[in-house]
Symmetry: C2
Amino acid sequence: MTFEQLWQALTPVGRSASSGGYFRQPFASAERECHAWFVEECAARGLDVEHDGNGNTVAWWGSGDDAVLTGSHLDSVLDGGAYDGPLGVVSSLAALDLLRDRGFTPARPIGVAAFAEEEGSRFGLACLGSRLATGATDPAAARELRDRDGVPLLDAMAACGLEPELGRAAWLEQVGCFVELHVEQGRDLVDRDAAIGVASEIWPHGRWRFDFTGEANHAGTTQMEDRHDPMLTYAMTALAANKQARLAGERATFGRLEVTPNGTNAVPSRVTAWLDARGSTDVEVASLVAEITRQGTERALRDGTVLEVTAESVSGAVFFDGDLAGRVASPGGWPIIPTAAGHDAGILSAAGIPTAMLFVRNPTGISHSPSEYAETADCLAGVEALADTLERLAS
Amino acid sequence: MTFEQLWQALTPVGRSASSGGYFRQPFASAERECHAWFVEECAARGLDVEHDGNGNTVAWWGSGDDAVLTGSHLDSVLDGGAYDGPLGVVSSLAALDLLRDRGFTPARPIGVAAFAEEEGSRFGLACLGSRLATGATDPAAARELRDRDGVPLLDAMAACGLEPELGRAAWLEQVGCFVELHVEQGRDLVDRDAAIGVASEIWPHGRWRFDFTGEANHAGTTQMEDRHDPMLTYAMTALAANKQARLAGERATFGRLEVTPNGTNAVPSRVTAWLDARGSTDVEVASLVAEITRQGTERALRDGTVLEVTAESVSGAVFFDGDLAGRVASPGGWPIIPTAAGHDAGILSAAGIPTAMLFVRNPTGISHSPSEYAETADCLAGVEALADTLERLAS
């Protein structure tokens, strides 16, 4: 089956008719449909499909230790693009088809993984599936996670027929190295005029919850001077975050917000906002968040509101295995570039598994958006690059 | 039955266990429970209960024209207080009881009204019930209204057993004058050391929807310089609104917000925010909104975003009938004060019905909040004041 045929099977699943973006939240219908499709395609190829208790699925070509793992994830951010995640899964299947067409017989098993809740769009913790499988996240902490409707993780998993058993996955013991193919989420490869790149490192990044608490009141009768309006404290903090990140050449985003009671004619009692912050070193990220917190707290004092900041997830810098990156990149002459996006590859790398990432050029650099895109020719180059890489690593 | 007994019957209905605030949105369970209670209490008093097709209910003591109408509303803002609305309804029933205890027989009919969706907390248009009954809102426009879940007004009404037939209410023809008792939503009466006040006018006010449109993108990989982030444009606009209102001695509030897609790791594609603006004259409100729009548009140009402003409801200044205010206020020596809050009384007054409002002192001035409060002694003074007023007007 060609890459295009595989790709087209997934295209309609979970796409919003109004925005054209994707809503593939984990353990809900669209993502489950993608997952069922993946299992069927693996079965059709005679792969041995294995589910762990964390929602991750791995399909094996061959058995034994020191396996070469590839794959990515099928879930999306809210109203996300088609490529972030699925491109890696579809390319893995297409690369296997290509290797078989070439008559290649692997000397080591090859596995294709579909990791659960990579985006953290439902339970707030990115790379949840790989974090649980590697032990990076404690199962007891994961059991406390709830989605925006208050549904606990285990209930959501059970509701779609899974039998959750959170914790370290046995199948990881068999993995000798991991290669994840992913659409680039920036324009580095455009600037370098290259269809394919290899990752050097992932910037440190994290999510911090900013709770601004004030005093609800009538929007009409309460004089401006008498208010303790947390919306103002939030607004100033959002502007400060942007300015600090710009000055430091880092990233700070407030993209998610909850307002209480969220009524037009009421001064809010509370604004909760999530800060996504990233930078080139752990120290830089920490000092960026500290500076945003300081400015927010200073403004809270003026507004008569209170700001509390809670770190929800913080991922340190990940430096991918330099030898492996060289071995992957050299034959094709592909550039080695850093990324500011988190990936399951980062989690597996941090767990001590030699890991590499292949990036496929993104002509606009736009990602996490309905307009995320990659040219078919570049996707096909990605399949070829992944097949070549797997062939070298599994020989 | 005493005022306290009546009051306590309503106290638990729709109260949030966590905040202590009230969620009595129209045509939903808690508000319907309050409404059923009201109908029962009216029936127990032998009043003739009449429902119009707009969700309003009026109970009559006596029949005929030139009636004296009192009452208020039973719905609340999201997480609102106990007094805003229900105090007027409960006080009306208690005032009727008091008049009967006094042996009073009205020469003109007295009606007690419970108006629907006064707060606009579900369908976005404040005073919806009285607007429809007086013809201030076109039924065709009201049929287009939807709640946050997309439920149309007529469906919501039908779902709770009502038979909606929107438009001018026949019962209004019988009304000669209207007196609404309401908790004060400010500290004017505290400053004047008075338990009761009478309204002179309602400030002009309205709701404007601000749609900020940008470009969704990845929160990690997109450089700050490459973003078109509508959250920044919104944040600056919210701060500008506050500053302009303070400078002008008016009111501007952004209390309600919807972010799309509202994900932590995505730059938003859209932020929709509702501005509540009020001022002492129509011209002042218009120029306040224009100035906020101008500053927001200027910032949008810098951010590469687009701001569109839509007026959702605009209410001009309402000057209550001066003669009636004098007749109501003089015997008790109650002060006559303006308010910045909208009321059904404003809608009926604008429809040409001589209308007065009685305010009951609010010790903190806080309203639209779980901490909204009035002392029982002041509430009892309110019942007495309303009974005295009804007795004079219906004699």
